[in-house]
């Protein structure tokens, strides 16, 4: 399937026709609603809050925010930003409750510091990886977006951005940009390895410690495996061997063997010190 990001910039791709198709397709609506509920679960909001919806489109996700029942912490009030006038037009026709802004999130997020309890973004931020004109770069767009978002969330707030990266390079570019802006960032992957795999970038502001970021967010959730690259780095550091000792020699021999080089057999003398002759 071709990626819409490769076809046209978002404000042109989502014209009247595409916006209507996007909003009326029951398949897309189902997927969007599942993802919004998942994002809400990750945000874990206890009381009615002010939420920023980035790339709100026709308000498919916003609709769920404003109709969330009281026992699940809702209903929330939201402010949506989108770059496509046609999408916003569909949102107007559908009478969504949130407030809508026509804006490019790649130009920043123009709100006072600490305005929002949370932010949500469904299938939008991969668009930031495309620079449509020569005077902007994808890195610059991502930087302005995440810096603006970081500033306008209150301390302890969270942002969950579901996105479709084109490849691993885009995925790491996006999460690196988020971390540069100061977020605690982690990625939750649903159904990894399948066609339906969904990535959620979970961003936290403040909170402190390992438990303040995504590992704390998913704690207590069922069927979530935590793969913490930081922990692995710490473990590797402690077990790493000194150059020249037996473990190091064995590792090097392994490496060479894998490369197909001829390697001397390992014996009990391997890596042992030679005693002085006298």
């Amino acid at each position: 399937m071709s990626r819409p990001e490769d076809v046209l910039p978002p404000d042109l791709f989502y014209n009247d026709n595409e916006s209507r198709k996007y909003t009326t397709s029951s398949r897309i609506r189902n997927i969007q609603s599942d993802m919004t509920h998942r994002a809400l679960e990750l945000l874990d909001l206890k009381s009615p809050s002010l939420i920023l919806d980035l790339g709100c489109g026709s308000g498919l996700s916003g609709e769920i925010l404003s109709s969330l029942p009281g026992e699940e912490g809702g209903p929330h009030t939201w402010i949506g930003m989108d770059i496509s006038p046609s999408m916003l037009d569909v949102a107007l026709q559908r009478d969504v409750e949130g407030d809508l802004l026509l804006a490019d999130i790649g130009q920043g997020v123009p709100f006072r510091p600490g305005s929002f309890d949370a932010a949500i973004s469904i299938s939008a931020i991969q668009w930031l990886c495309n620079a449509e004109t020569s005077d902007v770069s994808s890195e610059g767009r991502l930087r302005r977006f995440f810096e603006g978002l970081y500033a306008c969330l209150r301390r302890g707030g969270r942002a969950v951005c579901q996105f479709y990266p084109k490849n691993d390079a885009q995925r790491s570019m996006i999460s690196a940009a988020a971390m540069h802006a100061g977020f605690g960032a982690g990625i939750l992957e649903d159904d990894p390895g399948t066609k339906n795999s969904k990535l959620y970038l979970v961003l936290t502001v403040g909170g402190g410690g390992l438990k303040g970021d995504i590992t704390g967010v998913v704690q207590g959730m069922d069927e979530v495996d935590v793969l913490d690259a930081r922990k692995r780095a710490i473990q590797n550091k402690t077990s790493s061997s000194k150059k020249g000792d037996k473990a190091w020699i064995m590792r090097k021999k392994d490496q060479m063997e894998r490369k197909g080089k001829v390697v001397k057999a390992t014996s009990k003398y391997t890596g042992r010190k030679r005693r002085p002759a006298f």
Binding site: P48, P75, T77, I83, E97, A103, Q107, P110, G114, D117
Partner: protein, 123 residues
């Protein structure tokens, strides 16, 4: 555009970012929404009350109190309902938002403010 948004939104121009933006030629509409006391209580500490007064006066609501509701007033349903009406139910349908510092004008059409900037201002 709702009044609550105007209390949080700043100028989007790169070197400006000033707050608040001022309404000009605003056409208003009332859109009824369910009242939620909890949300209003949640949002009050974050409101910039002085700027909210300025905005309210510009829009012709002069009956706003001089001080931010606190303590007892937070549980006074009438005060919360009035705030709910002002913040969430009043919609600015047409008009302009003007930055007091750099003078940039943001058009509001059908209730949607246009914050798209030409690239020399936004980057």
């Amino acid at each position: 555009m709702k009044v609550v948004t105007s209390n949080f939104i700043t100028c989007a121009v790169k070197d400006c970012k000033s707050f608040p933006l001022h309404f000009r030629d605003a056409k208003l509409e009332l859109q009824e929404l369910d009242f939620q006391a909890e949300f209003i209580q949640n949002i009050i500490p974050r409101l910039d009350w002085d700027k909210l007064q300025i905005t309210a006066n510009e829009l012709g609501f002069s009956n706003i109190s001089d001080t931010k509701p606190n303590d007892d007033a937070l549980n006074n349903e009438q005060i919360l309902r009035d705030l709910h009406k002002l913040l969430l139910e009043v919609q600015i349908m047409e008009g302009k938002l003007i930055c007091g510092d750099c003078g940039h004008e943001y058009m509001i059409k059908e209730g949607i403010a246009n914050f798209l900037l030409p690239s020399h201002l936004g980057l």
